[in-house]
Subunit: 195 residues, 2 copies
Amino acid sequence: MSTEITERQQEIINVSLALITESGIQSLTIKNLAKRIGFAESAIYRHYENKIQILLAILDFFKRNTEQLFSNQLNSNENALVRIEKLFVTHFRKFANTPSLVAVIFSEEIFRNEKELSTKVAEIMNLNIASLTTIIKDGQQKGEIRNDIEASHLATMILGSLRMFVKQWSMSNYSFNLEKKGNELSNSIKTLLVP
Amino acid sequence: MSTEITERQQEIINVSLALITESGIQSLTIKNLAKRIGFAESAIYRHYENKIQILLAILDFFKRNTEQLFSNQLNSNENALVRIEKLFVTHFRKFANTPSLVAVIFSEEIFRNEKELSTKVAEIMNLNIASLTTIIKDGQQKGEIRNDIEASHLATMILGSLRMFVKQWSMSNYSFNLEKKGNELSNSIKTLLVP
DNA sequence: CTTTGTAGTGTGAATATTCACTCACATAAA
DNA sequence: TTTATGTGAGTGAATATTCACACTACAAAG
């Protein structure tokens, strides 16, 4: 039901993401959306009740994309260091291929007004931190990750590093190769985590 | 000259910060500003040419506040680990006392439209990363910080951890004691950095 | 001491623009 | 006939900004 999505709805989300990538969340207006699709503005409302629903759909897209990366590693039984490395690699690949996701990450302040939106943002982040913490605890028990630091602290640091790195990339106008440089960062993190 | 600021201008900035703290950057409108001061909207323009200038002044306030924390440690000659610890402690204290700064940190996406603003944001962040990198390199040379990881990576991780932690705090509606919990995180970071 | 000019500050009304959203109507397919 | 989809015109609210006008403090000129 609620997960089913029509072709037009998908198109609206795709165009939304394109607009966000090009000029930020601020440029995501009904007018711009309709213009890009080749639509009248009023036609949008045949497919989404209001703009909030579109933003929620975008957050859903974001959620599905990142959540999957975490759960993939959550359900793997490789060495925890490898799992965390893969977390980095897959994230950087995803962001490099879908830069709109980056704009979404850092648009949380814009979602702050609408309760439904800010709740969803918090929900996504808490879920990701929880998954990561689980992976770390598991690695600590198996002796794959150093045991002298609280798992939640390590999770904060790892996720924080990831975000900060992506932020640096976006602030440099995507001037370096995220995947390649990201690998180096990932190796540094691994070195820190090793017991 | 340009750094001189009148009483009214200071009042406008103070009220701006209060508005941002209470309900986010989105609520910083000329109307709200004027209402809170007890002003006509038009009176604002006697003191600032336009809204952009107000936002720039806010960023300046932010810049002065954080820059100082970095340069204090930059010019100290204590053990690098202690300097980094102090960086954490002073940041957390500052954020706890001036929560509007948190909203400013995470409002970068909103500043993205105006070139002048986004440039300033990038400038602030690059400066902070550079200061931190200098401190780390110094510590590495003196054998106070582990040498097997690139200083720039460590800087990304440290700053990323700091931001992520503050984000978690703000997302929890400031439900925990930032300074106290921040101390624990700071200790974990120190443990990671030690050679 | 008084007049006059001026700079600084505040006001209320008006402006243009942008925004999300509505609605009566049209059309085509099933 | 019904359902889904699209349209064009319009609405009201919010936004930043402008402008002619008014008041005050104060210093220079008479």
